[in-house]
């Protein structure tokens, strides 16, 4: 760029990769009134934009700078750009005041309560649909239900049993270190049996299933929502709750207790194995002590909780899937929310059950 006798002459390529090096300050100060494009090489929209900006810089009070040496094509491009210049300076985002922060906090809190009410409403809808289907079993989607039973149940057996086995091993190992100090090694059987049957077996299974199947429910239903499949179902007179939510929820309600039993067995096996290796409690002793000392209600307490956990995971997973909007980000956000929320609610329910069982004394 050279400035000479009221004319700004531009040289070389004016393209998107070169315009950043140009500055119009000197040109604007010189008071030049003509822009010469004679020596310009390649010229693209970014270059045209730069020329329009220069033109503006040279004509502060509506004085029009003269353009010289532009080819027809360049002139046409300049005209196009000039027509499409956006209005100046979008307003910068205003600083957030304390009042606004409080406002956001309030809105989020209200939103959470609204969510709680909406989830309860969804629960009611699902339960009433299940009740209706109990009276009209022909309308149940059996194929879908058995498919989901396989997905959430059978396919989860390896990971659930491995997890429970390791928990049994850890309990025996940790318990052994403490109990050996009192010479009370044999009590490790009670420790393992009670903690696994009552709490850990079913709770950890529910957490794994929430991570595995709850997220899958949200993702599957959410992507159907994104592709308007849910709307398509509604227009065909098909009820998405009957078709999508009930089979998944029922599959979980049937399969989670089964997975719980498997987890219990694997956990006890792991515990017994470790007790034998670490404490010398032989499998025979373990079995006798387990059979005589462990109340069957410990098992019962664990199993009673299973269907409730399953309902929580199923409802949350499907509900969040239904909330997905048109973009991929909301799908991801809601999938992770679904897992976090269902694990949180499972643990909350577990705590409530503990209080309840303490009161009724089992």
């Amino acid at each position: 760029m050279t400035i000479d006798a009221g004319t700004v002459t531009l040289r070389g390529d004016l393209v998107i990769s070169t315009i950043e090096s140009l500055s119009w300050a000197a040109a604007a100060q010189s008071g030049a009134t003509t822009i010469n494009l004679d020596a310009v090489g390649r010229f693209d929209t970014a270059g045209a934009w730069a020329v329009v900006e220069l033109d503006r810089a040279l004509s502060p009070q509506g004085r029009k700078a003269t353009l010289a040496g532009a080819t027809d094509l360049q002139a046409e491009l300049l005209a196009t750009i000039r027509d499409n210049m956006p209005d100046d300076g979008a307003p910068a985002a205003p600083r957030r005041t304390i009042a606004e922060l409080l406002d956001t906090f309030g809105r989020r809190t209200a939103h959470s309560f609204g969510q709680a009410i909406a989830i309860t409403g969804f629960l009611g809808q699902v339960v009433s649909t299940i009740a209706y289907l109990a009276l009209h079993p022909r309308q149940v989607r059996w194929t879908a239900m058995f498919y989901h039973m396989q997905q959430v149940g059978l396919s989860a057996v390896p990971i659930v049993s491995l997890m429970a086995f390791l928990i049994g091993v850890v309990l025996a190992f940790q318990g052994a270190a403490q109990l050996r100090q009192f010479g009370a090694e044999v009590f490790v059987v009670d420790l393992i049996a009670i903690s696994i049957l009552r709490e850990l077996g079913i709770l950890l299974t529910a957490i794994i299933v929430a991570g595995r199947s709850g997220s899958a429910f949200t993702a599957a239903i959410g992507s159907m929502k994104m592709r308007e499949e849910i709307d398509a179902m509604r227009t065909l007179g098909l009820d998405p709750v009957t078709i999508l939510v009930v089979p998944r929820t029922l599959a979980l309600i049937f399969m989670l207790p089964v997975l719980g039993v498997i987890a219990n067995a694997a956990g006890l096996f792991g515990g017994a194995l470790m007790s034998w290796i670490e404490l010398g409690v032989s499998p025979g002793v373990f079995q006798i002590r387990f059979a005589t000392n462990t109340d069957v209600w410990h098992f019962g307490v664990g199993m009673i909780k299973a269907p409730f956990f399953a309902l929580i995971i199923g409802i949350i997973g499907c509900y969040q899937g239904m909330q997905v909007e048109g973009n991929a980000e909301s799908l991801g956000r809601l999938t992770s929310l679904s897992v976090v929320l269902s694990i949180f609610l499972v643990i909350t329910a577990d705590a409530l059950f503990s209080i309840f069982f303490a009161i009724v004394g089992v």
């Binding site: 998107i16 950043e20 693209d44 929209t45 094509l73 973009n327």
Partner: protein, 258 residues
């Protein structure tokens, strides 16, 4: 005027499993022209587009763009090559978590080192150039209509002032007025930006209105290329049915009136 083809496809063979889509397909695209690629559904028009831009590896054949092979090139050369073309997919394929302006800025952000203000200004000009209103700058793709998504996709395709733009059915699913406006937009930008346009389309009106040349894909290869008038003379049952059917006659008649 004699010139080298900007895109040159020779003996392209594409297979999916045992299904052969292209078998020895040849095509030349000249600099500055708008070429319309037509063919029945499933004849591999979009597949051809994907092969040319390097998204699909063909089984065999030569594809050169700007005289450079797309297939046998280093990552670096391919990256340089990619800066010189823009692709608009069916339905825009906008990034759904970014707003329109961020979508158009995305290629500039990746490929060039520009100041934020420059990028914003250029992106906004591009969005206005494709005929979107300023309200659309900070809208998410999910909040746009189908036609607006296509326009935004086009704005993203021309963000870097490419030499070639590939458009996959730009007017499909638009109302006739919107489609005509889009055709006009393509022609206008071709004139001002000197684009070469590779247009995959079913739209006879588009072919009439803006295409310099038409390439017909059938029987796994390009069976005919030429202007609209030349297409009327081609002696092939599919071409005859396509260009002499009732819709084609309607499109022709419309052009005569106009």
């Amino acid at each position: 005027m004699p010139q080298d083809p900007i895109i040159r496809v020779r003996g392209l063979v594409t297979r999916f499993g045992t299904h052969t889509v292209h078998d020895g397909l040849d095509l030349d695209v000249m600099r500055g022209e708008i070429i319309g690629v037509v063919g029945g559904s499933g004849t591999g028009k979009s597949v051809l587009l994907q092969s040319i831009v390097g998204l699909l590896k063909p089984a065999s054949g030569q594809i050169t763009v700007f005289g450079q092979s797309v297939r046998d090139t280093s990552d670096h050369d391919y990256r340089e090559l990619r800066k010189r073309w823009g692709v608009m997919f069916q339905d825009g394929a906008l990034f759904s978590s970014l707003n329109v302006q961020q979508n158009v800025e995305a290629p500039m952000r990746e490929q060039l080192d520009l100041r934020a203000e420059t990028r914003t200004a250029l992106a906004r000009i591009k969005i206005r150039m494709v005929g979107l209103h300023e309200d659309a700058f900070d809208k998410l793709p999910a909040e746009l209509s189908g036609g607006m998504r296509k326009r935004a996709g086009f704005a993203r395709a021309i963000a870097l002032d490419p030499e070639i733009v590939f458009l996959d059915e730009p007017t499909a699913g638009l109302d006739p007025i919107g489609a005509a406006a889009f055709d006009k937009l393509i022609a206008q930008l071709r004139a001002t930006l000197g684009l070469t346009v590779f247009l995959v389309t079913h739209d006879l009106d588009s072919l009439h209105a803006i295409c310099d040349r038409i390439a017909v894909i059938a029987e796994k290869r390009v069976i005919a290329t030429g202007t609209m008038a030349e297409m009327q003379e081609v002696d092939h049952p599919w071409v005859a049915a396509y260009f002499k059917g009732p819709r084609a006659r309607a499109a022709l008649a419309q052009k005569d009136i106009a």
